[in-house]
């Protein structure tokens, strides 16, 4: 029967209408997603190659563009919404993103710290040599 009151599985679009109308609405959602994703991808490639932007800011800009494109994919291709029927999916996703951030940022942070601290700076090396 209808299970409007229960959860919606990830990847399933909400159904505004029946039959033909539903199908064209679905195609429209995927097409909007594709166009946005193409735009963001093209921007990423442009940002990586142009000389117009401030060099040190480019990696950050690329990360922001990737986050935006991930959002586009989640909303338009995987149909993750903020609706009450999607709470479980969003919570699982949030936990996944938290874990990913901890792993990636934590690894980069601790390894950069190690790199900084393992190699004594040149002055210190000279000090050791003199003694």
């Amino acid at each position: 029967m209808t299970d409007n009151a229960s959860d919606r599985p990830p990847g399933e679009p909400s159904m505004p209408a029946e039959g033909e109308e539903r199908e064209s609405a679905g195609v429209l959602v995927y097409t909007i997603g594709l166009l946005l994703a193409v735009g963001l991808t093209a921007t990423s490639f442009w940002v990586a190659n142009t000389g117009l932007l401030w060099g040190p800011g480019v990696p950050l800009g690329l990360v922001v563009l990737a986050v935006a494109q991930m959002g586009i994919h989640l909303v338009f291709f995987l149909h993750i919404t903020t609706g009450p029927d999607n709470t479980n999916n969003v919570l699982a996703l949030a936990f996944g993103i938290l874990t990913v951030l901890l792993v990636v940022v934590g690894s980069l942070w601790i390894m950069a710290n190690l790199n900084d601290n393992m190699m004594p700076p040149p002055e210190l090396m000279n000090l050791h040599m003199r003694h």
Binding site: A5, R8, G11, L34, T41, A66, T99, V104
Partner: protein
């Protein structure tokens, strides 16, 4: 009509503990969603290893010398387009259109195969020039990360063929529909991983 309205009203009133199990369609897709997220956590560890080792070239070639942006752009286009056609296929599955399903699956498969062929050619070129995974820590991390994504794409292509055989043999049986829903989740998730791959590995690598 009245019965349906009454039923949905009843369901809204029922407490979650009394409502009974969720439909299998929901449970299966949610379980697969959890698997995908753990798979993405695994990719995160490989990304972290790559990011840490990206400069450890041991006097060998760096990303800027190895990567061809044109090839990466075509790979990206193939994978994005195949994600789109996979979405159209899932719409055809939902309205039980056999022809649309086969056509969507065929285009998705062809684009995925083109992606894989380009990636394998890139790998083969690098290995022939002596820049294989054993050359430096950077290249070990590169081949592990990108190769793992390539393996996932390969598994997805095999899965897609198996699913088309099942559609042929069993039609749009609810089991087959659930599996196809899981496949489209998998394929879209692979595209999300690729977004980070071309950003972190290729575009940032070409600049550094």
């Amino acid at each position: 009509m009245n019965v349906a309205v009454a039923l949905s009203d009843v369901r809204l009133d029922v407490a979650a503990s009394e409502a009974g199990p969720a439909p299998k369609r929901v449970v299966v897709a949610y379980g697969f969603w959890i698997f995908l997220l753990s798979d993405i956590v695994m990719f995160a560890t490989l990304f972290a290893a790559y990011a840490v080792l990206a400069r450890a070239t041991d006097g060998g070639p760096s990303g800027a010398q190895l990567f061809s942006q044109a090839s990466v752009a075509i790979e990206t286009a193939c994978l994005l387009a195949s994600s789109y056609t996979c979405g159209l296929m899932s719409l055809a599955v939902k309205s039980r259109r056999g022809l649309g399903t086969y056509f969507g699956a065929f285009v998705t498969f062809a684009l995925g195969l083109a992606f894989l062929a380009l990636e394998l050619r890139e790998f083969a070129d690098m290995i022939v020039r002596g820049d294989g995974p054993q050359r430096s820590a950077f290249l070990s991390a590169f081949f592990t990360l990108v190769g793992c994504h390539g393996l996932h794409v390969t598994a997805g292509l095999v899965w897609l063929v198996v699913m088309m055989v099942q559609v042929g043999l069993r039609g749009f049986h609810p089991t087959v529909q659930r599996r196809l829903a899981c496949f489209s989740l998998f394929w879209h998730a692979l595209d999300i991983v690729w977004v980070w791959l071309f950003t972190v590995v290729y575009l940032m690598g070409v600049r550094a």
